[in-house]
Amino acid sequence: MSEADTDRIEKKIVLRAPRSRVWRALTNAGEFGAWFRVKLEGEFKEGAAIHGKITHPGYEHLTMELQVERIEAEDYFAYRWHPYAVDPTFDYSVEPTTLVEFRLEETDDGTLLTIVESGFDQIPVERRAQAFRMDDQGWAEQTRNIERHVSQP
């Protein structure tokens, strides 16, 4: 493990759907909310904040807020947010954010989606450790989600 590994997460996946379809799922706030499990109020606009209630079972008491950085049609979409924002009574606004970037590329069998979340090294250790304060039910649910995902062909 190198030092740099702690700052970013990168995911690549080929989606068997046209680029325009994937783009809409990412940048239409209603569609984004359907798979991300959040009920966003309004639309994504460059430089604007958007927020909404989490709809993921067990996390409905939480609100998510995104600050949209850039929208480049069918190519690139990026926003900033507060990771580990799990305490509804805490004001996270003064803390550093991470940057989430989505990049789309056309492939023979669909669309290659690259997701990068970076900036974790700026997040206070206390906040990082707080990610562990989820209850047992949360962990069990998360484990089931992971299992469902990895067992797909």
């Binding site: 702690t6 989606l113 962990w139």
Partner: protein
């Protein structure tokens, strides 16, 4: 790619004492201070803390039981420091977020491919 459910569960079960030890604001602060300011005595750790020196001592022992910190004698004082393995905390947090992304991507895949 396939990973058995039991392997995933075993990893989190083994980590349970670590989660429990970190599930307290004072202990998190102690870990953060040892992380940023390096090894130090209980006297220094208690400076500026809103709890007593006795409470800090108790928390340090709880953290030690979870394998997160250790102490060594230095003259007449005990110096507390992070266990080298405890530095894996940021990596583990990232692993957790990474797994959440996997779940989210799984839902996106189902959503656009249907």
């Amino acid at each position: 790619m396939s990973r058995s459910r039991s392997a995933v569960e075993a990893r989190w079960t083994n980590a349970a004492p670590v989660f429990a030890a970190l599930g307290d604001t004072t202990r998190l602060r102690v870990v953060a201070r040892l992380c940023f300011d390096g090894p130090q005595s209980i006297t220094r750790l208690s400076e500026g803390a809103r709890v007593t020196r006795q409470a800090i001592t108790k928390h340090l022992h709880a953290l030690a039981d979870a394998g997160l910190v250790r102490d060594r004698r230095h003259g007449r004082e005990r110096i507390w420091e992070l266990e080298p393995g405890a530095l894996a905390i940021p990596r583990r947090c990232l692993d957790q977020i990474s797994e959440q992304w996997d779940a989210v991507i799984g839902r996106l895949k189902a959503f656009v491919e249907e």
